[in-house]
Amino acid sequence: MVISEDETIIEVNDVNFYYGNFKALTDIKMNFKRNMVTALIGPSGCGKSTLLRLLNRMNDLIDGTRVEGKILFEGQDIYAPDIDPVEIRKNIGMVFQKPNPFPKTIYNNISYGPKLVWNLSKSDIDDMVEQSLRQAVLWDEVKDILNKSAMTLSGGQQQRLCIARALAMKPDVLLMDEPTSALDPISTAKIEELIEDLKKDYTIIIVTHNMQQAARISDETAFFYIGKLIEYNKTEKIFTKPDVRQTEDYITGRFG
């Protein structure tokens, strides 16, 4: 199968989102492209994390929220009434701001999801654990301590474990909500390298507060401000010659 460069995988169509009476997102319209890294940037409270959590229906967990408009994943409306959010989350994985491994062994952290979803033999699971950890460039560090608690790993290792855990579910899209904001610079660099690698097989949408990070790793960048999408463009363009004045002001640090 030949994948054209600009194929859309997630289409967000005139989406409004409310927490109770508070409107958090207004008329968001954007197309996320397959096998690209898209960065969502903007000041705190601008709605970028909210949008990210809309894409795999994590906002369902919060009482009193309401979505208007359509979000299509591979042409299918993920908020259609006959869609099971569990199925959506299998295809669209998520990595959180703070590393959140389960209080289980490293091995069981990875095997937890696949074991529940597929009927796999022990050796299949072993392979899958190794493959996922290799993908997350963690295998060499943990291959001898797979039965130790994931809580004994460092913060950066824990975050890569969380990425491996998400990859084990074989998702198409990986959502990352400020995945490096709790990590030191070296761990951050490792995760950024990892994102570069993963781009070949996955579509990555990342929320970040770190402008340099967005510039370094993303192909496209979307700038949000108070619940609105201000500008969505090639990263290079956004960081050199943005179309909108507000974007320039934010990127150059004049506000936000």
Binding site: N56, M58, L61, D63, V86, E87, I88, R89, K90, N91, G93, M94, F96, K98, N100, P101, F102, P103, K104, T105, Y112, G113, L116, V117, K148, S149, A150, M151, C162, R165, A166, M169
Partner: protein, 301 residues
Amino acid sequence: MIDRKEMNAIDKKQNKSLPWRYRRQKIFFGAVKLSALIIVLALGGLVFYVVSNGLGAISWEFITRPPTDAMTKGGIMPAILGTLYLTIGAVAVGLPLGIISAVFLTEYARQGKVIRLIKVGINCLAGVPSVVFGLFGLGFFVVFLEFGSSILAGSLTLGFLIMPTIIGAAEEALKAVPQTFREASLALGVSKWQTIFRIVLPNALPGILTGSILGIGRAAGETAPIMFTAAAFFTAKLPGSIFDEVMALPYHIYVLATAGTHIEETRPLQFGTVLVLIALVLGIDLIAIIIRGYVRKQKRW
């Protein structure tokens, strides 16, 4: 700006000088220590009193033989067994129902007025006198469902009695499980039920068991609920099924101390029975504590 001298002067005026503060601290610590001492003395005194009076009655015969000579001699084996059955039965009824209720209340129910009302109701239920539960058990299980005075009716009654305690403990334990664990599991595409069953409950289990220990103690020690629903005044026959009546330690103590024919002569027997009851409750608690320790070890922090 006020300088240091002025501040000291103000302090003195307001009785906040350093020596006075130390004195106040001493008085407060003294009061705390005194309270702790009173509690320890009261508890220690109680245990010492029971042990010193009851130890003489304890023998192999006492715990392995049924009562003889109109309950003035012999042992209390049927009562030990009865209390053990009733307690295990009560836990078997109260623990699963309590945990399931707590899971519903904290994980599934939409938090609102109705749920808050239910929670208040459960808390009230925990404070209802046990004799009320006894009467309910008599009316519902013994008479209406025709279980008769039996282990089954007694276990159900005691199970309902300890359920509010267990629900309360389980709710707190479930709430203490970090939300990030739930999010991590759900984000993998694991269903809500599996998330609760595989991640939330195992992490809450030690806390649930801690709360349940309180329930176990109550189930073993209550007299009023089983008087109406399960306990026999005297039966040398050991129960053959859950529809049989049993003797039970708390009721046996009550009978010996108030309704027997030779109350004064059986005093040592009464204290012996009390001692056995305490030991039994501690024993069952110990099992729960061991299980809790094992579960905690499974958790790889």
